[in-house]
Every structure is written in structure tokens, then in C-alpha cells.
């Protein structure tokens, strides 16, 4: 505690603070050891992130040198030219030479900075000749990753529990930066990201990759990364997207090309199994059990765990006309969403099994007791019938 305090004082009060963070270079994962050492941008693991880091340091040093001169003159005056010391004021108030000089010199410095900046930006924008295309879709409040041309897609959601967030359970190491399924990428391959969103604007940011790009609903943005080192890289949503903004982290698992291929084959197989499952028939108990899990993961964020919603913002499902009314309307709302509101179209986000389970759960939980159930095949038929 005492050493922490010392550090606190040293960092917070040192007038040379700018200098103290220069040269520090904490790696993202090591940084977990101590928050105090987190002072500077990570260098990252892509050529772009390294360029950005170099550029950042160049500008930091320029600022440090200018500030030494500017603050130096200022502090010298404050010490030497005091009235209390009897210093008599001079009376000069202009000098064309000096004024021209401090206009031209900054222009030259800026031109000097503009060259590497332009070069980096051109590199950053070059999304051609990618080896792999990943479509990233932002939702309130999770990410969907789609490996284009591979038939593999999944949702990546926060796994930190609500009790941990509300301090009822201890917080684990990767509190708020852990997900159920990370984005798996091979190292040494140029990966193009195609970003969009389904509801509001999100922004996909992984500092170690030097990537931050907005996911704008209705538009596709492009950026790319070629990861040099295997590892787990964590990031966050950077554009305010509603109440779950802080709760939709990003985890990228960079692996060797062989591991990536094995992983991709497994994912394809799992996708086939899931498609098969959609043809099965479940009992009410099975659907309710699956439904509770899926509901809490995908729906409780807005409609809350007890189905009562948030008054004025998100409607209650407990006793609602849709949950108690005809199945067809309930299916329509779940699959297609409600345009003009925050209710998303879950048809493309969730499997038929999950959709069927959630609908069944909503019709029979919290005192709702319609008594009927929806099978995955009903969802499939509904989707195909549209």
C-alpha cells in the first residue's frame, strides 16, 4: 500500500510526467500484473500497429522538446522576472522577425510529421489481396463473426456474470474482457475485416492489432490486419451503443495456420450437427431448460431476467400480448424484429433450436402459461414460408 501511494504521488505530481511514460512499453497481457505500469500505447503485433506506435512516439518527443523550450522560458520568467525581486518590466511588444520564425518553424515540423503519417495511412487503407475475409457485425451488445465462404459464423458474447459485475461474486482475471467464443485467426495471413452493424453504430477496437473501425448499420467498412505473433489479444467496443456498451468485449485468438485449419474444420462439423438438431422434436421440459439459458444470454439484457423489462425503455414480456397471443406473431417478432424499435431480428443471429426454446420459454415462464410449445422445425418452416 505504501509503495502504491509512493508511485501514485510520483506519477501524479511529477511535472515531468510526460517523460515518465515515454519509453514505457507494457505488453497487453503482462499489463494485467499491474495497472500502474499501463502508461503508454501497446506496440502491438501487426505492421500497422508498429507504425502507429512509432508515429505516436515521434509526435510525443516533438511535443516534449517543444514543451521543454516553451515551459522553460515561462518558468524562467516566473522565477527571474518577479516584481517581488524588484525586476523592472521591459516595454517591447512586437518583433516581426521572431513572430515570423515561430510561424515558419512549426510549419516545417508539421510537414516533417505529415510524411510518415501519410505513408502509414496509405498502408492502413490498403485492404487489397487479403487471404481471409471476416465479416464482423455489431449488435447491441455482442459481436457476430462470419468466415466468408466457409459457412462458419457465430456470436461472441461477454461471459462475465452479472453477479460479478454487481460485486456479488469475486472478479476474475479477465473481468469484462472474456467472451464465450473468441475470433480465431491464423498468424502471418492478411485478414480483411468487413464491418457492419445491425442496430446502432459500434466500433471494433483491438489495440494490439492497430485496428479500430466503426461498424455502421447499413454500410460496410473495410480494414485489415496481419498478425505477426500468436497470442490472445483483447479489445473493446469503442463507440457508445447503449447501456451494454462496456459489456461487449472482443477477444482475438491468433494461432498458427495448422491450428487454424483444424479449428475451422471442427467448426464446420459443429455447424452441420446444429443443422441436424433443428429437425429433432423436443419435450416442453427440454425446451424450457434450453430456453432459460438462451433467454438469459440473448434477451435478458433488455427484457430482464424476470421478464419485466425496463419501464419506459424496454417492454415487459411477463403478461405481454405477444407472449400470450398467437404463435405466428411471436415468431414474427423474434425472427424479424420490430422495425423502428430496439427489438432486433434474431432470425439470423440464433439457431432454430435456440429460437424455438426461447419462444417456448417466454410463453411459459414467470407466470405466463400459454402451455403450447414451438419446435425448431416450426421456426424453420416459418422462415422458409416468408
Amino acid at each position: 500500500m505504501v509503495s502504491r501511494l509512493k508511485q501514485l504521488v510520483a506519477y501524479a505530481l511529477s511535472p515531468l510526467l510526460l517523460l515518465s511514460f515515454v519509453g514505457q512499453n507494457a505488453h497487453a497481457e503482462d499489463a494485467h500484473a499491474s495497472g500502474w505500469s499501463l502508461l503508454n500505447m501497446p506496440q502491438g503485433v501487426t505492421s500497422v500497429s508498429n507504425d502507429i506506435y512509432d508515429l505516436h512516439m515521434t509526435v510525443v518527443w516533438i511535443c516534449v522538446w517543444i514543451s521543454v523550450v516553451v515551459y522553460g522560458v515561462m518558468f524562467y520568467s516566473m522565477f527571474a522576472h518577479r516584481k517581488s525581486k524588484g525586476y523592472k518590466a521591459a516595454n517591447f511588444h512586437e518583433s516581426t522577425t521572431v513572430e515570423l520564425l515561430w510561424t515558419i518553424v512549426p510549419v516545417l515540423i508539421l510537414i516533417w510529421v505529415a510524411f510518415p503519417s501519410t505513408k502509414s495511412l496509405i498502408e492502413l487503407y490498403d485492404t487489397t489481396e487479403a487471404d481471409i475475409d471476416i465479416k464482423i457485425t455489431g449488435y447491441q451488445w455482442k459481436w457476430q463473426y462470419e468466415y466468408l465462404g466457409e459457412g462458419v459464423e457465430f456470436m461472441s458474447e461477454l461471459t462475465t456474470s452479472e453477479p460479478a459485475i454487481y460485486n456479488l461474486e469475486p472478479k476474475t482475471e479477465f473481468y469484462l474482457s472474456e467472451v464465450n467464443e473468441p475470433l480465431v485467426l491464423p498468424v502471418g495471413k492478411k485478414v480483411r475485416f468487413l464491418l457492419t452493424a445491425k442496430d446502432v453504430i459500434h466500433s471494433w477496437w483491438v489495440p494490439d492489432l492497430g485496428v479500430k473501425r466503426d461498424a455502421v448499420p447499413g454500410f460496410i467498412n473495410e480494414t485489415w490486419a496481419k498478425i505477426d505473433e500468436p497470442g490472445v489479444y483483447r479489445g473493446f467496443c469503442a463507440e457508445l451503443c447503449g447501456k451494454g456498451h462496456a459489456f461487449m468485449p472482443i477477444v482475438v485468438n491468433a494461432v498458427s495456420e495448422d491450428e487454424y485449419k483444424t479449428w475451422l474444420a471442427e467448426k464446420k462439423e459443429a455447424a452441420a450437427v446444429l443443422r441436424e438438431m433443428a429437425k429433432q422434436t423436443f419435450t416442453l421440459e427440454q425446451l424450457m431448460a434450453k430456453g432459460e439459458v438462451a433467454y438469459n444470454r440473448s434477451c435478458a439484457g433488455c427484457h430482464s431476467g424476470n421478464g419485466e423489462g425496463i419501464p419506459g425503455a424496454f417492454p415487459a414480456l411477463k403478461g405481454s400480448a405477444i407472449a400470450l397471443g398467437p404463435v405466428a406473431k411471436h415468431l414474427d417478432v423474434m425472427v424479424n424484429g420490430v422495425s423502428g424499435t430496439a427489438m432486433q431480428a434474431f432470425g439470423g443471429q440464433l439457431s432454430e433450436v435456440d429460437l424455438a426454446a426461447i419462444i417456448t420459454y417466454e410463453r411459459n415462464a414467470w407466470g405466463n402459461n400459454v402451455g403450447d410449445m414451438v419446435q425448431p422445425i416450426d421456426v424453420l418452416k416459418f422462415k422458409q414460408g416468408q
Partner: protein, 517 residues
């Protein structure tokens, strides 16, 4: 002519006197400053430790939004309008503002605008929760119904600003005393004249963008909805076309105040007066053509990114000129460090630091990492708080004796300065670290590696908040029980027409224009 102010509440309700209206603006803005500050304290208390302790994320978002809106539109902008009302007629030798009744209207609609905005806190659905930049579609399709109150609130506030600006332009261009040529105007008048033109140019743009939102929300248009042929990024272009000049609207009058105070306490004329005027004009012009540097991650074409990067970097040049001029004014002066000077010096130091981080942010590839992180939060608080608010505080201590004929307590003033200065830096320096380490802004909760610096930042914020209560105490104490002073020139080194008037300044001044040589 020599009649005094009206008696009772009528004096304030029907006020047409620039000093009374200025006073009302200043008190109103201070009330808003405390309200916005309360929101900030809630934010920092919640972020003191990881986990949700005090509020829910949806309320946290309302706090960040209301904090920004109240501080920008309720605290900083009206406070400088109040200062303009008080000082511009005194500094140019005018009997009053050119349009006194409009002056009354522009003040009195403000409380209604903010009542509309703040009333949403007590409504179902809550206050605006989409950030003070209110990006669509979070602020349209996905907004609570109370967004309509926000929209009309902004309309009213905007109308007030436009009227205030027209009044300032009319006053400065028409009511200058004989011999007060444009290039003799005190810099505070110059910076406000330029600011007023910026306001007249961009407040209608803000009104336009909120009206487009109103249409999207209630009348089925799709300006910002891709599904109907619109574009969410269009919102950002329009917003920032207003929003970037807006930050200069906030900071230019602050430049003016500091340009008055530094020469006074350096006992030496301002260095480079004419280059100050040109630099201010250059900054104002550039402020119109750099807006998309707030949007480097939206996926603009590279040509756009490059243009906005170069144009933004250019702002460093006239801004640098200003800083160099202030420092050269101090150089070989005969310096003393009364409270206004302390705040003015802190302004130069900290605003320059904010300028450095601004230059860093201008570099588009690096901005990919800084954007929407706590680094940006740190940066703009250095400019908005250590810039605008410090300069405002300096201005109030500087002119308060002239206004009320009482001297503030120097020890208490200095105490407030040191608590504010230290608290401010403890609050905002760590935010730069947090941003560089990867913490996004507007986060209700954060990963564990960000805990330490967040705690430090919160402690600093509480300190800074406490300093404002001391400020309130100091001002009230000065007015009620300050030592009376009747010296025309409160400060030995002060120059300008306001210091030729009796102290306290009479209700009517310069009924006969002074002669300026």
C-alpha cells in the same frame, strides 16, 4: 438620465441593463456548472472501482450525456456571454448593449431550455442517454421518447445563443467610443466578435440536425436510417460541422480573458497584438474546415482522411502563435502572482498540454488508437476545463472588484487555485494513460487492469469538485463581506477603459462616450 435600477423582482425579470443581464448569465451558468459537476461526481464515483456500485449502466449513460450537455451549453457558453455582457460595453466605451430588449429575451429563454432538458431526468425512459454528441441512430430509432424534450431544449438554447451573438456583433460594430478603432479593441472584444460570427454560422446547423432527428423520430423520414436511403454517418458530418467550431466558440473568449490578465500582472503590454487578432481569425476560419477529424474511424475515403489530417495539423500554427505571444508577454515583465494571474498561467501551461495532445490526435493513423478512448477524454478536459473554465475563473477574480466594489480574499483565492490545479491534474493526467492502454470512453464499468488509474482520477475529480464549492464561497463572501475598494484601477498594471470608471461600476456607464486617443 441618472436613475438607478428598478426595485424588486422586476429589476431582473424586465432587465435591459447589460450589467444586470450579465450578472444573471453568470449566476445561471454557475448553477449549471454545479449541476453538471454533480453529474461528473456521480460518474467518477461509479468509476472509482470496477463493478457497478452506485448506478445502473443506463443511468450512467444519462449522466455522461447530461454532464456534457449541461457543461457545454449551460455552464461554459452562457458564462462567457455573461462576461461579454458585463465587459464589452465597458471595454469599448458603450452605454449598454446595442439591443437591450433582445438581450433580456436571450437570457430569459435559457432557463426554460434547461428546464426542458433537465425535466427528462424525472420522466419514464430517463434523460438523454446517447452522449452529448448524440450520434444517430442511437439518438433516433433507439432513443427514449424523452429525446423530443432534448431536441426542443437544444432549439431554445440555440436561439438564445444566436440572439446573444447578434447583440454582441451589433454592439462591437456600432457602439465603439470615438477613436476606438478596430485595431485598438481589447482582445477580449476581438475574440468575442469572432466567436459571435462563429455562433451565428453554426448554431443554425445544430438546429438543423436536431430537426432532422425530430423528423426521423416522429414523421417517418430517413435522413439517418440506411434502411430508408439515409446515412448514419451524415449525422456525424452535420453534427461536427457545428461541433468543431463549437469548441473554438468555447475557447476563443477564454483566449481574450487571458490576453487581458497576463499583461496586467506582467506590467508589460501584450506581445504581438495584431498577430493575436490574425491568429484568432485564422483559427476561426480553420475551425470550419476540419470537422471530420472527429470521424477518422468512420471509414471515410483516404483522400478525405488525408485532407482533414493536414488541415487539422495546420491549427497548431496559429494556436502556437498565441501561446508564444503570452509567454513572450511574461518574459522580462515584472510579474506578480495574484489569483487571476495564477489561473491565467495555469491556463497557458495546461491549455498548451491540451494542444500537444490535440496535435497527437490530428495524426490520423495514430488517432485510430486514440479515438473514442480515455485519451480523448483527457485531451478535451485539458482544453475545456483547464482552458475555458480556468480562464473564466481568472476573469471573475480579475473583474469582481470592479463589479461589486469589494475585494476578494487573496489567501482564499490562492487556496482555491491550488486545490483546483492539483485536483485537476490528478483527475485528468491518468485518463491519458487509461486511453493509451485501451480503455474506451463512456464506459460504465471496466476491465481490472484499468482500476488503479481510475481510482486516482476519481480522487482528483473529487478534489477539483471541492474547489468549486470554495469558489462559490469566495465569491459570495466577497460580495457580502469583502473589503470595500473604490480604486478605479484595482490592479497596478491594468489597461483599458473599464479601469477609468469608478469602482464599483455605476448602474449606467459611458452615457457620454469617452474619447480614445
Amino acid at each position: 438620465m441618472a436613475h438607478g435600477p428598478a426595485k424588486g423582482i422586476g429589476r431582473w425579470l424586465f432587465a435591459t441593463n447589460h450589467k444586470d443581464i450579465g450578472t444573471m448569465y453568470l449566476w445561471f451558468s454557475f448553477a449549471m456548472f454545479l449541476l453538471g459537476g454533480t453529474f461528473a461526481m456521480i460518474i467518477r464515483a461509479e468509476l472509482f472501482a470496477p463493478g457497478m456500485q452506485l448506478v445502473k449502466p443506463e443511468f450512467f449513460n444519462q449522466m455522461t450525456t447530461m454532464h456534457g450537455l449541461v457543461m457545454v451549453f449551460g455552464a461554459i457558453m452562457p458564462s462567457f456571454v455573461g462576461l461579454a455582457n458585463w465587459m464589452i460595453p465597458l471595454q469599448i466605451g458603450a452605454p449598454d448593449m446595442a439591443l437591450p430588449r433582445m438581450n433580456n429575451l436571450s437570457f430569459w429563454i435559457l432557463p426554460f431550455g434547461f428546464a426542458l432538458l433537465a425535466s427528462t431526468l424525472f420522466m419514464e425512459g430517463g434523460a438523454p442517454n446517447f452522449g452529448w454528441t448524440f450520434y444517430a441512430p442511437l439518438s433516433t430509432t433507439y432513443a427514449p421518447d424523452t429525446v423530443n424534450f432534448f431536441i426542443f431544449g437544444v432549439h431554445i438554447i440555440g436561439a438564445s445563443s444566436i440572439m446573444g451573438s447578434i447583440n454582441i456583433i451589433a454592439t462591437v460594430l456600432n457602439l465603439r467610443a470615438p477613436g476606438m478603432t478596430m485595431m485598438k479593441l481589447p482582445l477580449f472584444v476581438w475574440t468575442w466578435l469572432i466567436t459571435a460570427f462563429l455562433l451565428v454560422a453554426v448554431m443554425p446547423v445544430l438546429a438543423g440536425v436536431v430537426t432532422m432527428m425530430l423528423m426521423d423520430i416522429n414523421f417517418g423520414t430517413s435522413f439517418f436510417d440506411a434502411a430508408g436511403g439515409g446515412d448514419p454517418v451524415l449525422f456525424q458530418h452535420i453534427f461536427w460541422f457545428f461541433g468543431h467550431p463549437e469548441v473554438y466558440i468555447i475557447i476563443l473568449p477564454a483566449f481574450g480573458v487571458v490576453s487581458a490578465i497576463i499583461p496586467t500582472f506582467s506590467r508589460k503590454p501584450l506581445f504581438g497584438y495584431s498577430s493575436m487578432v490574425y491568429a484568432t481569425s485564422a483559427i476561426a476560419f480553420l475551425s470550419f474546415i476540419v470537422w471530420a477529424h472527429h470521424m477518422f474511424t468512420t471509414g471515410m475515403p483516404i483522400a478525405g482522411e488525408l485532407y482533414f489530417m493536414y488541415a487539422t495539423m495546420l491549427i497548431a500554427v496559429p494556436t502556437g502563435v498565441k501561446v508564444f505571444n503570452w509567454i513572450t508577454t511574461m518574459f522580462r515583465g515584472s510579474l506578480s502572482f495574484e489569483t487571476p494571474m495564477l489561473f491565467a498561467i495555469a491556463f497557458v501551461i495546461l491549455f498548451t498540454f491540451g494542444g500537444f495532445t490535440g496535435l497527437m490526435l490530428a495524426v490520423a493513423p495514430a488517432d485510430i488508437q486514440y479515438h473514442d478512448s480515455y485519451f480523448v477524454v483527457g485531451h478535451f478536459h485539458y482544453v475545456m476545463v483547464a482552458g475555458a473554465v480556468f480562464s473564466m475563473t481568472a476573469g471573475i477574480y480579475y473583474w469582481l472588484p470592479k463589479w461589486c466594489g469589494k475585494m476578494y480574499d487573496e489567501t482564499m483565492g490562492k487556496l482555491q487555485f491550488w486545490i483546483a490545479f492539483i485536483g485537476f491534474n490528478i483527475a485528468f493526467i491518468p485518463q491519458h494513460f487509461l486511453g493509451l492502454a485501451g480503455m474506451p470512453r463512456r464506459y460504465a464499468d471496466y476491465a481490472l487492469q484499468f482500476s488503479d488509474w481510475n481510482m486516482v482520477s476519481s480522487i482528483g475529480a473529487f478534489m477539483y469538485g471541492a474547489a468549486q464549492l470554495l469558489f462559490l464561497y469566495n465569491v459570495i463572501r466577497t460580495i457580502v463581506a469583502g473589503e470595500p475598494t473604490s480604486e478605479e484601477k484595482t490592479w497596478e498594471g491594468a489597461e483599458g477603459l473599464e479601469w477609468t470608471l469608478p469602482t464599483p461600476a455605476p448602474f449606467h456607464t459611458f452615457s457620454t462616450p469617452p474619447e480614445v486617443k
